[in-house]
């Protein structure tokens, strides 16, 4: 995979970001990143996209709702147990 092209780099992007790639391919991809600013920016902003969602606390379960859901779940489970 010497002289990696941008399209080839993109195909490997997910494995590269997840760190599941062999050392040789990683070295070739990083050599590409040394001179290709476009791919460098795509990698860094894609990584940031993942991190910002992972750390966002989007759709956290509020405590009051959590309590209500617990009660509902456990009473439904108890009722279904009685049926059987």
């Amino acid at each position: 995979m010497a002289n990696v092209k941008c399209s080839e780099f993109l195909k490997e992007l997910t494995d590269y970001l997840d760190g599941v790639i062999d050392d040789r391919t990683r070295a070739e991809l990083e050599e590409h990143l040394n001179w290709c600013h476009k791919c460098y920016v795509v990698v860094s902003t894609t990584k940031h996209t993942i991190e910002i969602y992972r750390d966002s606390h989007l759709y956290e379960l509020p405590d009051d709702l959590r309590g209500r859901l617990h009660s509902a779940i456990m009473s439904k489970c108890a009722a279904s147990k009685k049926k059987h």
Binding site: T14, V43, I50, I52, Y53, L58, Y59, E60, L69, S80
Partner: protein, 212 residues
């Protein structure tokens, strides 16, 4: 560049102990499983359904179904992955009900115009976290992920938000590993492209802040 650090779920070593106790009728053991995973299931359901009421229903239905079907749980897979699978199916059913005219399936392999080729390449500076406060940022992230096809959104949420491995995501969605990888790549690139609108350097004039 260093790889992404996956968040993952909390230690699941004693899940099996709790599951076995729950199978023997120990409600307290099952309640511990509910407390352990309710936040994750709520997040997954809200991400897929994009509706608060539906997400609440999914949390209840997913735990109830898992309780009623504990005997069918095959212990070679993780309890959490099995629970996620139930929750994803319940979420997709809710989505189908709301979009009666449109079929919603995790199997759909959507071709979209903004596929895997980055069109706009601009660095993000300053950091989005410096540019927007937390509630503004959450609104942007919510609106942006809502626009993804549900099959991409689901893979992204399980893999990148909840930290399931690629193999666990494939198992939870009944997809092949290459299908998960392909959708994950496209989901990541599409989200990046869409977030550019808000975060790109020298984006919207000197103020640089996209008006919400």
């Amino acid at each position: 560049m260093s790889p992404i650090q996956s968040k993952g779920v909390e230690a699941t070593g004693d899940d099996l102990v709790l599951v076995r106790a729950a199978k023997r009728g120990d409600m307290g053991a099952f309640e511990q499983l509910v407390k352990r995973y309710d936040r994750n299931i709520f997040r997954i359901a809200q991400h897929i359904t994009q509706n608060r009421e539906d997400a609440e229903d999914v949390v209840q239905d997913a735990f109830l179904k898992s309780y009623q079907n504990l005997d069918r749980f095959q212990e070679q897979s993780k309890f959490y992955t099995w629970l996620v699978r139930i929750a994803v199916n319940e979420s997709l059913m809710k989505l189908r009900k709301r979009r009666t005219a449109k079929t919603v399936s995790i199997d759909e392999d959507v071709k979209t115009e903004e596929d895997s080729v980055p069109r706009e390449v601009a660095d993000w500076s300053p950091n989005p976290e410096q540019l927007y406060n937390q509630s503004e940022l959450q609104e942007i992230l919510g609106k942006t992920i809502q626009g993804l096809p549900s099959s991409f959104r689901t893979v992204f949420v399980l893999r990148d938000v909840e930290g399931l491995s690629t193999e666990e995501t494939a198992e939870a969605l009944d997809l092949s590993v290459p299908a998960v990888k392909s959708r994950l790549l496209r989901a990541r690139l599409q989200l990046r492209e869409r977030l550019n609108r808000y975060f790109k350097k020298n984006g919207s004039g000197d103020g640089k802040r996209e008006v919400l």
